[in-house]
Amino acid sequence: MRKLLVLLVVALCTLTIFAQQAYNPEWLIADVEGGQRGGTLYLATTSGPKTLNTYWAQETSSSIIINQGDVSLLGSDFYGQPTQPSLAKDWGVERTEDGGTLYWFEMREGVRWSDGHPLTVDDVIFTWEKIIVPDLTADGNDVYMDSEGNLPELTVEGNRIMFKYPTVFRFGLETVGGFAIMPKHVLEDKVTDAETFQSTWTVEQIDQLVVGGPFKVTEYIEGVRVVLERNPYYFERSKDGVQLPYLDRIVFEIVTDTNVARLRFEAGEIDMHGPQAKDFPALRAQADEKGWNVIVGPATAGSNFVAFNFNAADPVHREWFRNDNFRKAVAYAFDKQTIIETLYNGLGVPVYGPRTNSSAFYNPEIENLGYRYSLVTAQRLLREGGFTWNNRGQLVDWNGNVVEFELNTNGENVMRNEIAVILVDSLAKLGIKVNYRPVQFNAMVQRMYSENWDAIIIGLVGGDDPGWSTNVWLLDGGLHFWNWSPEVMDWVDPNEYFVHPAEKRIDEIMRVQRSILDKDELQKLWDEWQMLISENQILVYTISQNYLNMHKNTLHLYPVEKYGTINPYGYSYSPGLWKIEYAWKE
């Protein structure tokens, strides 16, 4: 009997000791305090996720949800730069003696996955060696390669992870510091090949999901809603010791129609709304009465531009489009300010180059190039370029050909459609006839890959760092679509191929930038890059709308609390989702 009692006491003691050994990792202390735990954040999204596998998600509808659970070695700051600690508590870059670059990360100890399993260096190695190196992802592993196409060598010493590149490579913090780390204990047998891996963590496999980030998807009712719940083992804590995230749950209600999303926000069913510029004044008028916080943020990063085909099938058209004065005249004739005033209620900014003023790499000098609306300047430029007008007011070139071309864009994109209509109207004032033909998205992409187009309005998205768009700007890049190189597209006649001097310099910049570690030196290159594009109007940039956000004032968003605006590097329709683990509700 006494033996049993002793045993019982011992057992009880062990249990208490275990219970006291609660989760206590090397906490990441966040720059927030005073928030309240609990509550559910209701958001609207236009479409449900297609997959929950972060390495195969291509649509924002998926990534906006998955990213809430992703975790990597480094986090990004307000400007989207990888400068924040995350799983790594300390990190650095070193030049090695043999001319290479070494990125090292000191990993936090005692961290766990959402299922309680330890999250260690092994998971990082697993993700790198079994997923990224063998190229099991949709994006491929080119971004991790240096200019000579080498992947770094991974070595580990205790908690120190080191990626060593044989050459100088500047993207390491973004690439090796930024990839999403996957749980080895869950996915070990799913990484045999790309086909198996892509059908892992589909929307049917929510119960298998294990995350390291703040929120994990726990429920998805097809087409109705996605529920994310807090990861009880998330390793971040506020300054006053509250484990983050503050919120217990995020619910994404799937509301396909944006008008209806607005109705639901007005009815108080949704906490945050990214209104369209046309709805903005009407909503703002209700803000005080309804208790909403209204934010007009910086310009959205991606801007639409007009590209002219330097390799158009018609040799006459080709000549026009390669003529600098022609493109510059288009830029002058395009009244950006009026579009902003009339279509966007003044909630936009004119864009003159490849980066908008919200970018960390923006060169404000391009504004001084003077591309403001002026038909007179446009006419002068055209005359200098060798064009004249016939007696019917039509613009004719040096061989007497009447200037007329086709303009395409994907018509379902409302903004591009509106820009196209105004462009047609503006160019008519110069005597240029533009035949606007909106096409479906796929048709537009197919055209871009062929010679059968004249002008296209499109926007491309990528990272903020211009270095991420090498594919677009290198002369032989895979997306240098307005002037395909004969090496890339066999239908381009090498004898007819034309390289603009500015494009040649841009190509050089894009090649050297990868190996420049010095920030100032790099920014000089980006300044030059923006000037080259803008000065020559290689692509004619248009306008960018401001980020617009409204949310209940009982909802506290971290960027607003701290910076007075929302983070421009979140998602286009709800940029406030950046640092969602800091958001809290009264």
Binding site: A138, G140, G223, G478
Partner: protein, 324 residues
Amino acid sequence: MLKYIVRRLILAIPVLLGVSVISFFVMQLAPGDFLDTYRINPNISREKIQELETLYGLDKNPVTQYFLWLGNILQGDWGYSFVYKIDVWQVLLRRLEATLLLGVTTFIFTWGIGIPLGITAALHQYKFTDQALSTIGLIGISIPNFFFALLWLMWAANTGIFPIGGMLSREFANFPWYKQIGDFFWHVAGPVITLGTASLAGTMRIMRGQMLDEMNQDYAEFARAKGMPSDVVIYKHTLRNAINPVITSLGFSLSAILGGALITEYVFSWPGLGSLMRDAIFQQDIYLVMANLLLQGILLIVGNLIADILLAASDPRVRLRMSA
């Protein structure tokens, strides 16, 4: 009868094959493919896109693709969705329930109200009731679904009587079963009335016209002259004859139910097949589109068969022809 059904089902095979050939090649005629979104992603290299083309079998020519697909189907494999990376049937099944719920409710609504109203209108020809019903019906048919749905939602948002779109309340999972059923009707009311008012007038007009035709036939006159009570003439004889064309249209209704109601689904955020197909077509998720089209084909065939059998049950002449 059984022989007839078997014969009809065998005849359906070439029809389905034809449907699959035409839809597959029409999809191929459309420019581009599933990988177009990848093609304008600056982070994806050309080599990677070629790799993905091989992975998804998009590098083969359309005829080869078609026969590979057909071969797989004969082995019971309908292919997988490029977007969802799961079996196409799993994707369709995730949406089927919502579509069926909406379709069946709308069907009951239109037929359950349309037929009696059509009869009432016929019985009161040219009187006030008839004219009032016709007017209401015409209003229903002439307001576009899109507009009606938005009006409904704005009204719902202002009054709070009905939900602002969606299919389930937030607390749905915690409701007892009877409340769950109530919740369903609360949510389905808007889409059903939007869709219902559009087709109600049609059903009503057909029923009214047929009823009037039959009531003026010699046999009806004769029965009344013989002294048969008017109710018996109407409900036992004329109604039975008048309902045949309405039954025939049932065949199409069954397929239409699953075809979904794209615009209404879109505005009400109703997670049915209609909006799924819209996305699938835009993204060129070919196997998903193909599976859905074939499903529709099968339903159209089954629907027509059911309609014919029902017709045989109500019309002895048809029965005779079938057994011949």
